[in-house]
Subunit: 347 residues, 2 copies
């Protein structure tokens, strides 16, 4: 049975404690003695940040209530709750955070509602190329796959790269071969094709912005963070384009000393901003809280030109989910199993 | 004619000046008021860091004097000087830093001595798969290619991705097609094959560590930094493995507010450490000098398990080239055209 995570971290190691102490001290220092840095608007709000064991996103973009039917909205909310509960099942039995985020992401990969797994968007040549990455916070090990076309659940392939290979990142057919050798389910490329995404390609070949990556961050009873991201990439992408989702430091990052992050947005700008790691760096080096750090990174990435959002969770379970787009499918579940789901900006 | 860069930055914009001021202030703050952080051994040495306009590396690894013939050593030194002078020709005529690093890297790509371009190492299936990336510090635009087999000079392909595509990263055949569309020289995959690297594959399939990436960082008369990295990856690599070289933030990073970085080493650890960006983060958020920041990142990456090194240059031209391996091919050229080359640890 999972108790309230905020007061329940028996296995946090000494290094983490020292980091936390230093971070806390730097935080005080930052507030009191560093007036030359920019204002820190998040401070007060951070006190009221929700605490959770699992947070997910289903992508950011031009998501407005007037463009979505009540039935579609309901479908998204139900599927996100299902994803949260799938991950929660792992966590409440003292399972590992990486296991939990994979279960949650699998639900979204297997749903055509999201741009990951089945339902992935189409490349300019009408194919589906999938990317995913995972990182765990205790040992900062990581795994990533890019440009794969035949692995049913890309997040599982990323996990296999992390735990069963000497590498961090694999691409294309080599990655597919590795996933197959690890016994993962291989599907025909046609499995990923859905009419909705095909129509979207035709629409997007005109305009539209939607960054339909999915991702999750979890904190388990042992105090370990894990973050993961899975995507079909950008609609109409060309030339073997790789976005931020499979890039450790850009789309995904986790470190028990600070936080876990999964980003979604205009990937090129998230790569150039090294967005996911930058949240951790601001916490570790400047003593920012997770809410301050995440908001600053989303603001900086937007200033550089990149719209999008991210879900973040610090090593005490505090959740922050800032975004610069119209909306972001997002939600979290507390240690008590209470689910919160939101889609639009005003929620 | 290029004057001494240290006193010659007419076109640094206001933002850079503000950053520099904040950085300087934070540096003082860091020295005087942050005793809780680890010792800062680089401080005194940094005062004596050399100043240059271009710095290059030709890879790090188990490079010991007793294993290299005088003739081979001389060949490396001459080729590195040639690379430095090729980049310098651009800079002294007020050319752009990205142009300079490409010229320098092209010399090393075209030489079989280095694991980049011709002379690239072999994958486990006997192929040559090349990666490269570039980032410029004024607008933090970036380009990267991974797993390409037919582009003669991969660093040029990375540049084309940066300036002539909406993307940052491209992989495989898509990247090759894009490079071809941009008019870059395409070669048969056999062009990259050399007997020396083939023998090395056979040897390495037993033991040996060598991280033969090449890279360069330059600062031009306009005050703009640019960094680039090009590699054949890791000998005996499998499954479409991608290392740190094409990953912005891991192998390559540049920001006029802080520094330019090109890394070489056991790429998996450099990805997990987000090594290149971390140098910039330590400078920007903790006020470290480039020498302190680079040394700390190399130390931290080594603690995580990753041997290697990096070349770094701050926005005043100060050069630092730390490494944790036995040796690193490295060198720089000053604004006056004076060349310094080093290979071994004791140099």
């Amino acid at each position: 049975m999972l108790r309230k995570t905020k007061f329940n971290f028996p296995i946090i190691d000494m290094k983490t404690t020292i980091y936390a102490t230093i971070t806390s001290f730097l935080f005080l220092l930052g507030c009191q003695q560093a007036p030359e840095t920019k204002e820190q608007p998040g401070t007060l709000e951070d006190i009221n940040l929700p605490t959770a064991v699992l947070v997910i996103h289903g992508g950011a973009g031009t998501i407005k209530k007037e463009n979505i039917t009540p039935e579609t909205e309901q479908a998204y909310r139900e599927k996100m709750e299902e994803a949260l509960r799938a991950g929660y099942e792992v966590l409440k039995d003292s399972g590992e955070s990486c296991e939990a985020i994979m279960k949650a992401i699998n639900v979204m990969e297997d749903s055509p509602l999201f741009n990951a797994g089945v339902g992935a968007v189409y490349t300019s040549t009408g194919e589906n190329e999938l990317d995913a990455s995972i990182m765990r916070g205790n040992d900062r090990n990581a795994g990533s796959v890019a440009g794969i076309k035949t692995v049913k659940n890309p997040i599982l392939a990323a996990y296999e790269v992390m735990v069963h290979s000497p590498h961090v990142m694999m691409a294309g057919q080599g990655a597919e071969q590795f996933a197959s050798e690890q016994g993962l389910e291989i599907v025909d490329p046609s499995y990923f094709k859905t009419d909705r995404r095909k129509e979207q390609l035709e629409r997007v070949q005109r305009v539209e912005k939607e960054y339909g990556t999915v991702g999750a961050v979890a904190l388990d009873a042992a105090g370990n963070l894990c973050a993961g991201t899975s995507t079909g990439g950008m609609t109409n992408k060309k030339w073997g384009r790789i976005g931020d989702a499979p890039i450790i430091g850009a789309g995904t990052y986790a470190n028990n000393a600070t936080c876990g992050v999964s980003a979604t947005g205009h990937g090129e700008y998230f790569i150039r901003s090294v967005s996911a790691y930058d949240v951790s760096a601001l916490m570790q080096y400047k003593g920012y809280s997770v809410g301050q750090a995440a908001q600053e990174v989303i603001d900086k990435t937007y200033e550089l030109g990149g719209e999008g959002g991210m879900i973040t969770m610090d090593n005490q379970g505090h959740v922050s989910m800032p975004f610069s787009s119209q909306g972001m499918y997002r939600g979290y579940i507390t240690a008590e199993g209470e689910v919160t789901i939101a889609i639009y900006k005003e929620e």
